[in-house]
Each structure stands twice: as C-alpha cells, then as structure tokens.
C-alpha cells in the first residue's frame, strides 16, 4: 500500500473524485428510488445466473477436459468438436438457437406439455441458464484439457505404483493439481461469464442489464443508468477477482 501512494496518484484520485462529485450533483439520479427494488432483484438474478452456470458448466468441463486429455478417441473427438463449436460461434447466437429453437420445438410434443417440467420450460430462464452453462463448459473444457495435460505424468505413475485405483488417482492427485493450475485462467473466464450474462436480457430474462434498459425506455434518461450499470459490473468483477486471488493463495502453494 505504501508504494502505491505517489504524488501523481493523489492528483489522479482528486480528479476522479471531482468527476464522481460532478456526476452525483449535475446528473439526474431521481429515478433511483423508484427502480431500487427492481434493481436489487436484477442484481440477484445476474448473480445466481452466473454462479449456477459456472457451477453446471464446470461440472461438464471436467469430463470434457479429461476426455480430450486422456480419453479414447471415441470420447475425445466429440468432446473436441463440442468445444470447437461452442468457442467458434457467438454466444448470442447460441442463446437464440436454444431459446427460439427449442422453445418452438417443445410445445409440439404433448408429453412435454403434460410433464412436471412444463411450467419451467414456459419461462425464459431455463433456456438462458442452459445456454450460459453450455458455453462455459465449452470454454472451460479446453482450459481443463491443458490443465490435465500439464500435471507431470510421473506423479500419476507414482500414485498407481502406490496401489491407488484409477478413480483415487483422479480424485486425489490429478484433479486437485489440474484445478490449482487452472485457477488463474478460471478466474478470468468467470469474469467473462459475468460479462456474458447481459445477453440473456434479449430473451426476456430481467437481470440487471434489462432493468437499466427499462429505466432508459421509461424515463428517456440514457447515461445515468448505463454508468451505474458499469459501476455495478465493475464491483462484481472486483469481488470475483478478490475471491479467486484468495483461492489461489490457498490452493496453489502446494504446486511443484
């Protein structure tokens, strides 16, 4: 912290403070109380969409990475194709394909409409969650492939020589080390996932970006909601960065 404070930084901070003061005093913020509740709900929806899709996506990414790194060709080839297709097409297109495509396909089957899941399938968020999860799985499958490959082979052989089963080697040696190596990349990818969530506003999921859009439409105030939105995203990204830094400090020192 000591080395951070320098004369020019104090000057820059003062300029930044002046900008914030100017924004607070001369821009219009009177719409905030009216949209406060909607905004909090939007932030909550953004957060759980991101967290759940990261969780589901990562659960899919581990087998995808493992199949590519060490699987037989029959598993490796489809896994590689899945990752290539997901990484080679825009997420917006994937979201629309899943929402409009599947969304128009499902009602044609009476047994789907009769099933317990139908009340959920009529809403937009399951499709959003599915698209975001598949996208995260595609990108992270590639990351995990590299991470699994970077664990020295000798360690795995040593573990086998100690009589550990294949499953135990994966659970106790291979996966923890691959995870620790992938952590810095995963942190960056999770921020990318946060930045991908506003795309689901295009399929009527009301998260925080959609709330800002609604303020713009209702009140014709353009800049203020967008600026606040940018600050909110920066704050969430900052928290994610700090969280991953903590994880890294905790789990990477054991790496050889």
């Amino acid at each position: 912290m000591r080395g951070w404070v320098k004369p020019h930084r104090i000057m820059l901070l003062l300029v930044a403070l002046g900008l914030v003061l100017w924004a607070a005093l001369s821009l219009r913020w009177d719409w905030i109380p009216r949209y406060w509740q909607l905004g909090v709900e939007g932030i909550w929806r953004t957060l759980w969409l991101m967290a759940l899709s990261v969780l589901i996506g990562f659960t899919l990414a581990v087998p995808l990475g493992l199949a590519q790194a060490a699987g037989p060709r029959l598993l490796a080839a489809p896994a590689r194709w899945f990752c290539t297709i997901i990484r080679g097409t825009p997420l917006l297109l994937q979201i629309w394909l899943i929402y409009f495509g599947l969304g128009s396909l499902f009602p044609q089957y009476p047994w789907i409409r009769a099933s317990e899941l139908w009340p959920y399938l009529r809403q937009a968020w399951p499709y959003a969650l599915m698209a975001l999860s598949l996208s995260y799985a595609g990108y992270e499958g590639e990351v995990m492939r590299g991470a699994f490959k970077s664990v020295p082979h000798g360690q795995l052989e040593a573990a086998r020589a100690y009589g550990l089963s294949r499953w135990a080697v994966l659970r106790r040696i291979w996966l923890p080390q691959a995870l620790a190596r992938a952590l810095p990349t995963l942190g960056g990818e999770t921020i990318l996932q946060l930045k991908a969530t506003p795309l689901v506003a295009t399929i009527t999921v009301i998260e925080i970006y959609a709330v800002a859009g609604r303020v713009r439409q209702d009140t014709f105030i353009i800049y203020e909601p967008l600026l606040l939105l940018a600050v909110i995203y920066m704050a969430i990204a900052g928290i994610i960065t700090l969280g991953f830094r903590w994880l890294e400090r905790r789990y990477t020192p054991g790496l050889g």
Binding site: G88, T89, S104, T202
Partner: protein, 249 residues
C-alpha cells in the same frame, strides 16, 4: 441422387429452399450479413491493434500519469460487459460528435452503424490488445533493444526494426485469439440494430418460423470463419517464427 436424400430426409428440401440465395430463400441475406460482420471484425481488429500498440508503449515507456490512465482504461474495459460499453460508447460517441459539430457550426450527422460498430468494438479490442502486446514487448530480450540503441538507431527505428519484428511472433497467439473474439463480438451489434449476420439470421428465422434451420446455418458460417482464420493464423505464425532461435513449428 438428391431426390433420394430428400425422400430419406423430408425436412431437408424445405431447408434448402429457405436457404437458397435467390429471393424466395434467405441465403442472400445471411451472406450479406456475414460480409458485414467480416468487415466490422476486420476494421475493429485493426483499430484495436493500433490502439493496442499505443497503449502498450504508453504502459511500458510512458510517464506515471499515462501509465495509470492506461491501467484504468484496460481495467474498466475488461470488467464491464461489451454490451454495456457498446451502448455507452454508441450513445456518448454520437452525442459528443454532434455537440462538437454544432459548436463548430455544422449540422448534426447520423453516424452510420458500420462506423460506430468499428469504433466501439475497436476501443474494446484495444484494451485486450494493449495487454497482449505489452506482454510480447516485455518478452523481447533487453539486450537486443540496447544493442539497437548502441548502433545509434532512434527510438522509432529501434521499434520498427527490432522490437516490433521480435515481439510479433510472441504476440501472434494472443492476437489470433483477439481476432476470434472480434468476429464473435460483431454479433453484439445486432442489439443496437446493425444488420450483421446474427440479426439477419434472427429476422429470417422470425419471419419463416424455421429457427433451427437459420440459426444452425449461421452457426456454420461463423464456424467456417473461425476455422479458416485459425488456419491462416497458424500459417502466419510458422512464417514469422522462422527466424527465432529454438523455435519449432
């Protein structure tokens, strides 16, 4: 032959008619959208590289204030969703330009979607390019730069003859990644109403109700762009790596 396939897979004939390039089909619109996407991606990528070179040099050899401002730029752009940045820059950019024009006594102009798209995506790309190029420049051995200076080259000559060619092979993997991001980010301009591939696809799909056909076709077009540019970048990389000691293709 074709008849046999159609008999075996009845939906295919309808899809092929929908995708044909002539007016009853929507293939022409998709191709036009893809060309628009490519133009924007190319423009944004080059603008991003130019900003990136400036940003990287600013971060490495600028004064303390420049360096901090660059850090703010890259941090903000990398933390805020592209969609939000596009809206802010789109509104603010047209607004500022028109205010400037009005102050100079000209009439306000309507900025074309193409120019706005290239400008906005270029600023976003620039932040990522700054980081990629900074890393690459830092990885050039200082001895080479010092030797160039000792030969009496000016700073500009050193950059053009030594630093730039030496850092290019190091920067290429990062830049090829950025190019792929640029092609995919063009899809975001669909939301501000620019008719690139994704928006054309949605319009075609919406008016014919053939969602799978069109979205899968557009996906294939994007995939072709990605795979071809992957090949091109691979070729460029082996070409530029030839002079590097210890490099294997």
């Amino acid at each position: 032959m074709l008849d046999w396939i159609y008999q075996w897979w009845p939906g295919l004939e309808a899809s092929v008619t929908l995708l044909s390039l002539e007016p009853p089909g929507w293939g022409g619109n998709l191709v036009r959208g893809a060309v628009n996407s490519l133009i924007i991606a190319l423009g944004a990528f080059f603008l991003g590289c130019v900003i990136g070179i400036g940003g990287a040099l600013g971060k490495l050899s600028g004064g303390p204030v420049t360096r901090d401002l660059m850090a703010v730029y890259t941090t903000v752009v990398r933390a805020v969703p592209e969609l939000v940045l596009i809206l802010i820059l789109y509104y603010a950019g047209t607004d500022l330009l028109n205010q400037a024009l009005r102050a100079l006594g000209y009439r306000p102009v309507e900025i074309s979607g193409l120019a706005a798209g290239i400008g906005v995506l270029g600023v976003v790309q620039g932040a990522y390019a700054t980081e990629v190029l900074r890393g690459a420049i830092q990885a050039v051995p200082t001895g080479q730069i010092e030797a160039a200076r000792a030969y009496g080259m000016t700073r500009f000559q050193t950059f053009r003859r030594v630093t730039f060619p030496a850092m290019l092979p190091l920067a290429l993997p990062g830049l090829s990644n950025l190019w792929l991001i640029a092609t995919k980010d063009t899809a975001l301009l669909a939301i501000v109403g620019f008719s690139e591939l994704t928006l054309e696809t949605r319009q075609a799909a919406g008016s014919t109700r053939a969602y799978f056909t069109f979205f899968l076709a557009a996906g294939a077009l994007y995939l072709i762009m990605t795979l071809v540019s992957g090949r091109v970048f691979g070729w460029i990389e082996t070409r530029f790596r030839r002079g590097q000691a210890g490099a294997r293709s």
